[in-house]
């Protein structure tokens, strides 16, 4: 490679202008039907309204934006090339160390967060949402990142978990801790039920069937009113208790509430902080569980399957069982997250389990860098915070969200933390050595 020198063509100003002009022209064509023209309701009939001023602004913005962007990209590319030439070393190992340090820092920060923001409801709430997505991302990571099975209906298992807890608790009075394992098992059961017939499908066929399954679950939840409450959902789902201590202002006769037991002033924040730590613990358990699994034969089998299915078959591995185990474990983790979600919201409806949700979870896994546990954390934080920061201009937040998904993918096609450490590698002296997780 070092013998090949790439001539780096420097664009002349004329070329830059022409390029930006072309982009502005495209923006004009694309903008005419959507920005330049719009239909408005005038007395029950539609009438066309023109917004050529806005269109002109958009075109000028496209022109200027392209000019600046192109210049910046060329500039950065030049610097990157120079840097690569200077240091063509093993950045991989160092990157892994940096990621590990970051992981511990993130853990420390997440433990400290509710202490620092103990009276800021919004921060703790948002952080809880981030952690739910982290957990979902880690669960889906088993299916997509490790086993390489594209699942577009992951939200179905999340829904199964949430609805089983909601029904078990409201109908049969089960507590959170009793319902948690059962709901997880139910979700895993659904995973096996779905997985068994379809896992011999490959790649995109699998994707569309899982997508269909997700939609089927949602449609059933919407329409089977006696069972799921239909579009109204299920409300007043009991909240989890702290070893039997409720988070209420006035505990029932003869029992203690969390606040009275510890002699604290009652505060609504206690429950939020408890929920936060609960999901933190659940997420960390998921992380430890998945990292351990990766080092077991079944985890190695998943990764082998992802890399080459035919080779796996040739080695005599039972690919169906391996796929099923990945599917079931992913589903179970999704189910756990669903239970927590139902317990935290106190209200669930099919609205929360749309395809967009599946897409967001998948995006977290892929944006993070498939198979990378830290990447999931990073991507989940980003994808939850982008719409949150966009709240000030609320109507643009999903627009920004979609744009960010495209841009991050184009910028880093392998995901934010694309570097993947092999679980096993040969060391210099030929012996097998353990790599990082």
């Amino acid at each position: 490679m070092s013998a090949v020198v790439f001539a780096h063509h420097q664009l002349t100003p004329t070329e830059r202008l022409r390029d930006a002009g072309w982009i502005a022209f495209v923006a004009l064509i694309l903008g005419i039907p959507l920005i330049g023209l719009t239909t408005v309701d005038v007395g029950g009939r539609l009438a066309v309204d023109t917004r050529f001023g806005l269109l002109a602004m958009a075109v000028v913005a496209a022109f200027g934006g392209r000019l600046v962007l192109r210049w910046a990209v060329d500039h950065l590319k030049g610097r990157k090339l120079a840097r690569q030439r200077a240091a063509a070393g093993n950045a991989g190992g160092r990157a892994q160390q940096v990621v590990n340090v970051l992981g511990w820092l993130a853990l420390g920060a997440s433990v400290a967060l509710p202490i620092v923001f103990s009276d800021n409801r919004y921060v703790v709430d948002t952080a809880t949402t981030v952690l739910i997505y982290v957990m979902l991302g880690w669960g889906l990571n088993v299916v997509v990142g490790l086993a390489g099975l594209l699942d577009l209906g992951y939200v179905a298992f999340y829904a199964v978990g949430a609805y089983s807890y909601a029904l078990l608790s409201t109908q049969y009075g089960w507590s959170f801790w009793e319902a948690l394992p059962v709901s997880g098992a139910l979700a895993a059961g659904f995973g096996i039920l779905l997985g068994y017939p379809i896992l011999r499908l490959r790649g995109d066929y699998l994707a569309i069937v899982t997508l269909g399954f997700g939609e089927i679950i949602r449609v059933i939840l919407v329409n089977w009113t006696e069972f799921s409450g239909g579009p109204n959902g299920i409300s007043s789902i009991p909240r989890p208790s702290f070893f039997g201590l409720e988070f209420t202002r006035r505990p029932a006769e003869g029992s203690d509430s969390f606040a009275s037991f510890f002699g604290l002033e009652f505060s609504a924040m206690h429950r939020l902080i408890f929920l936060y730590y609960l999901i933190l613990v659940l997420a960390l358990l998921t992380h430890v569980f998945v990292s351990r699994l990766r080092k077991l034969p079944v985890g190695r089998a998943w990764e082998a399957l992802r890399e080459d299915e035919i080779a796996c078959k040739a080695m005599g591995m039972n690919t169906t069982n391996i796929k099923l185990s990945a599917f079931a474990i992913g589903a179970m983790l999704g189910g756990f997250a669903g239970v927590f979600f139902a317990a935290r919201q106190g209200f669930i409806s099919p609205e929360s389990f749309t395809f967009t949700e599946s897409a967001i979870i998948l995006a977290i896994v892929v944006l993070g860098g498939m198979g990378s546990q830290m990447g999931v954390v990073l991507a989940a934080t980003l994808l939850v915070l982008i719409p949150e920061f966009g709240r000030n201009f609320a109507e643009y937040r999903m627009l920004l969200f979609g744009m960010a998904m495209v841009l991050i993918m184009v910028w880093r096609p392998g995901g934010l933390l694309a570097h993947r450490e092999p679980t096993l590698r040969l060391s210099a002296d030929g012996k097998a050595a353990r790599g990082g997780a």
Binding site: V48, A207, A359, L399
Partner: protein, 304 residues
């Protein structure tokens, strides 16, 4: 019996539209092996363009229906193919050659972006237009039920058949068709033999968008209402149709579309209308279990 015939007509109309959208999915899949999730939203954009164009024509007092339809079709096809081109250029081309999932995520992002862009610029409310073509022919009249095929339905079916013929001719007979098929078989080899692969892929996207544009105009004419969310379900159904027919196969996409349309119409008419989507996906699962490469798809050859 008469009722069933009516459902057959309705199902065929619906299926023709699904088929047109499905061709866009199947062509893109055939050539670059990705699910173009934004395709349903391209279709939605075209429906909005059609609404604007029809309203413009109404304001300009154009009353001739054939003239109006031709104008709207041309406008919609032009702008929608521009969208198809731009989507490929910005979201997919930079990702060509990376992992299989990267373009999928960027496509989902593009789909969210397009939906929200339309919602922002055109408004979130449902847009109705007055019926463009009214009336139809009575095919068969029994005392209990009259079977009617609307002019719109007839138009949709005829246009779809005509488009399919033109399209088949284009793929099998023209230079572009040969290049397209060459890229589908082996992009690297096609490039070595002097096929401009980038341009062929761009053109494939534009062609898919153009067919979606026709479907968009038809939906506008047929239902008379459009909102920014129609792309999602139509896209999923059309993709299901493409998979059902065997993804990568053009006649398969059309067949899959018709089947999905018919299943939906009959299921909604005779069983539970609420569960028609469940039926669609259920049948898809069944077909894939029995024939994993779809009805008309070639079985994938695994090479080691």
């Amino acid at each position: 019996m008469a009722y069933a015939l009516q459902q057959l007509i309705n199902g065929l109309t619906l299926g023709a539209m699904y088929g047109l959208i499905a061709i866009g999915y199947t062509m893109v899949y055939g050539i670059i092996g990705m699910i173009n999730f934004a395709h349903g939203d391209i279709f939605m954009v075209s429906a909005f363009i059609a609404i604007t164009a029809f309203t413009l024509l109404a304001a300009a007092d154009v009353t001739s229906i054939p003239l109006a339809l031709t104008f709207v079709l041309i406008v919609a096809i032009f702008f929608t193919s521009a969208y198809g081109w731009a989507v490929e250029r910005t979201a997919y081309r930079p990702l060509r050659g990376s992992t299989r999932l990267a373009p999928l995520i960027s496509a989902i992002g593009m789909s969210i972006f397009l939906q929200n862009a339309v919602q922002l610029t055109q408004g979130a409310r449902v847009k109705p237009i007055p019926p463009v073509i009214e009336g139809g022919v009575e095919l068969w009249s029994t005392p209990a039920f009259t079977v009617q095929i609307g002019w719109t339905q007839l138009l949709i079916i005829v246009t779809t058949v005509a488009l399919m013929i033109a399209f088949t001719w284009m793929i099998t007979q023209t230079a572009f068709g040969r290049q397209q098929r060459a890229c589908e078989q082996d992009r690297g080899m096609a490039a070595l033999l002097g096929v401009n692969v980038d341009r062929t892929i761009s053109f494939t996207f534009m062609l898919g968008a153009a067919l979606a544009a026709v479907a968009g105009v038809m939906v506008t004419v047929y239902y008379g209402v459009v909102d920014f969310f129609i792309g999602f379900l139509a896209g999923i159904k059309a993709f299901t149709a493409a998979v059902l027919g065997g993804i990568g196969s053009l006649p398969g996409a059309m067949l899959g579309g018709l089947l999905i349309g018919l299943i939906e119409a009959f299921w909604a008419a005779y069983l539970w209308a609420e569960y028609k989507d469940v039926a669609t996906f259920g049948i898809l699962c069944l077909v894939l279990m029995l024939r994993p490469s779809g009805l008309l798809g070639r079985p994938e050859v695994e090479k080691v």
